[in-house]
Every structure is written in structure tokens, then in C-alpha cells.
Amino acid sequence: MISYAECSARERLALLLDPGSFHEWLPPAERITSPHLAQLGVPSAFDDGVAIGRATLEGRKVLVAAQEGAFMGGGVGEVHGAKLVGLLQRALCERPAAVLLLAESGGVRLHEANAGLIAVSEVMRALLDVRAAGIPVLVLIGGANGCFGGMGIVARCADFIVMSDVGRLAMSGPEVIEASHGVEEFDSRDRALVWRTTGGKHRWLTGDCDALVEDDIAEFRAAAIAALDASKPLTLAALEEEHALLTARVHALLGDTASDNEAMLLWSALGVADAQRVPDLPVEVVRALRPH
């Protein structure tokens, strides 16, 4: 077993796709780097923290991007975002079986401010165009930095999300919530709380991700292959269904304090048996607990 979380973006590409099939566009030797970081005294990366290209997955053509969480927390800067947009737009011409986003990101790279914000919004628009063209966009989340901020929104715009139990997906990160609402609301140093609220098991039980896997590259690969035809057309009916699900979730808990709105209470309210045991249960057991 090889831990997905411990691999770099490039190691994930090498191990997840068919061996030797990844062909990179704008590789490091092209030196398409950030125009902003050097001015701030921050070193650039030759790939601006994301590798994009085409490959095959179980023999089928895919386009793929992998974000490097160790470089600026996977933050989306101007070039990084443009590479994602270019990849998605190319999918409209090449019509691959799917586009895979190996997401690991804290969201917008704050050093690049508005350029990063605009980049993320362009990624969302490009992703929705790909989805509308009937090409599934699959997001894989299992890196140590999770998938937060703008990339969290991007992930939820996609057709299909695969998460490991160590993966995290949310909008505001733990420190952001604590800074804005206080430690009584959310203690960002409480790791168990952080994972209960943003981790893969929680996202699986609440229906925010579509597959829950172990922290194992081979499991991510198998889940991605299984999802290759998982195109979910973005229809009015699908949106209304999503809104109904979110409304039901809001009404599932009506407490006034943070402790009244614990993830475990939500799982119970959604019909998960033995909700307080979930954090200790193995992934394969939690997989069977999802209420429907």
C-alpha cells in the first residue's frame, strides 16, 4: 500500500495513471512561473505548483491536473489557475473520457490576491463548461492540505468526488473559522473536531463526496476508473434535488450553540447508527453506514 497523502503531486500522477502514460503540458523546463512571487521575495516553482497533461487510465484517454500541496499550500495563483483553465478548455476540443483533478489546495494564493481570485472563478466557469459538454470532471481529495477555499467550491462543481478518510473538503479552513467566529465556535487545534467537520468520512455520510477510499493510491486509482462514466448532467432537477438535500440538512440541527451542532449529532439526525463510533471505524465499515 502506498499512501496517497504522503506522495507529491508528481508521484501521484506516476502511480495513479497508466504507467508512463502521462504527457505533461507546460512542463517545468518551460519555466512558466509566477510573475508575482519573486517581487515578494518568495521563491517560484518551475511548474507553479501544478502539473497538467494528458494520460491514459485503464487504457482510456483522460486529461489530468495535480496540485502540489507542499508548494504554497497548493494555493491557486495566476499561472497555476491559468494552467487549470487551459486544461479544462482543451478537454472541450479533445473530448477525453474524463478530466481528473488531483486537488490539494488551501484555495486562492493570497500573495497573488485578485489575480488568484479571478483565476479560481475562471476555473469554475471552465469546469462547468466541461461538465455541460458531457465530459465528467472527477476530483480526487486525499492530500495533507485538504481542499479548501476556492478549490473547495471547484470540487463541489464537479461531477464526482473521491475522498480518503484523511482527505478534507470545505470552504473556510479551521483557522479561518476560529479567527472569524472565535475558539468557542471552532477550536482549530482540535484535530478530531477538524476531521469530524471536514474529513472524508463526514463528507461521505452527508453525501458531499461520491466515493470514500482508504489512503492508498491503488484505491484512488480504482475509484477513478469506476467513475470514468460518472457524468452527472447539471439539470434543473439535479439542482433542486441538491437544494432539498441542503435544506433537510439545515433543518436536521437547530441548536443555538456549537456543541448543539456537532457533526456526530448531524450524522445521527441523518440516520447513521452509532454515530459516535464513526471516527474510530474503518473506512470499509463507514462506507456501509451512509443513509439513503
Partner: protein, 110 residues
């Protein structure tokens, strides 16, 4: 206050008298993270091994020189361009990354 100005420092080194590395595909190892660095090796014209370092840790030129001298002693390469983006890696980490990069192009175990 340090008298070392803020910002990146660029360092260039060049070594001659190495063995031609021959043809190889450009490779990248490592990541620009705290205490880490990325090293890119590319084939280059000529008989030198040229090194460019961009680092956020200013004022360590003599240490980089020593680390690169040691590297050239271990791996006397010619016709190679080495490009480094550094975020404060220690000399030992730099040496390991350089050896890892050479192992990638020669197929040897680091």
C-alpha cells in the same frame, strides 16, 4: 536588524572538467516547500555544468559554493544545466536532492 536585504538571492556556479552526461530527458525532483527545494536537471550545450540557485535564504553564498563543490566531486557532470528553487533547505537536504536528481538521469540508486 540584519543588514541582509529582503528578497530572493540568485547564485550562479559553473564547473568544468566533468564527464559528458549524454542525452537525457529533463527531470525535476523535490518541491519548493519550507526547508525544501526543487532541482531541475536539463541537458545543455557545451562541456560545463552550470548551476543557478534562486533562494529565499540570503547570505549563504559561501555555503552553497561548498555544497556545490562537494557535489561536483561526487558527480563531475558536463553538458548539464542545474536549476534550483530553494526555500531554506539545509546543506544536507540540498546534497540529497542533487544526488536524487543525478540518480534519476543515470538510473543509479542514490
Amino acid at each position: 536588524m540584519s543588514d541582509v536585504p529582503a528578497g530572493l538571492e540568485t547564485l550562479d556556479f559553473s564547473f568544468s572538467g566533468g564527464r559528458p552526461a549524454g542525452a537525457f530527458a529533463s527531470i525535476l525532483v523535490g518541491v519548493v516547500g519550507s526547508g525544501n527545494l526543487e532541482v531541475m536537471l536539463e541537458p545543455a550545450e557545451g562541456i560545463d555544468c552550470a548551476v543557478r540557485v534562486e533562494t529565499s535564504a540570503r547570505g549563504f553564498g559561501p555555503i552553497w559554493q561548498a555544497v556545490m563543490n562537494d557535489f561536483h566531486t561526487r558527480h563531475p557532470l558536463a553538458g548539464v544545466r542545474i536549476s534550483i528553487n530553494d526555500m531554506g533547505a539545509t546543506p544536507a537536504v540540498v546534497s540529497l536532492r542533487l544526488d536524487q536528481a543525478v540518480a534519476e538521469i543515470t538510473g543509479e540508486q542514490p
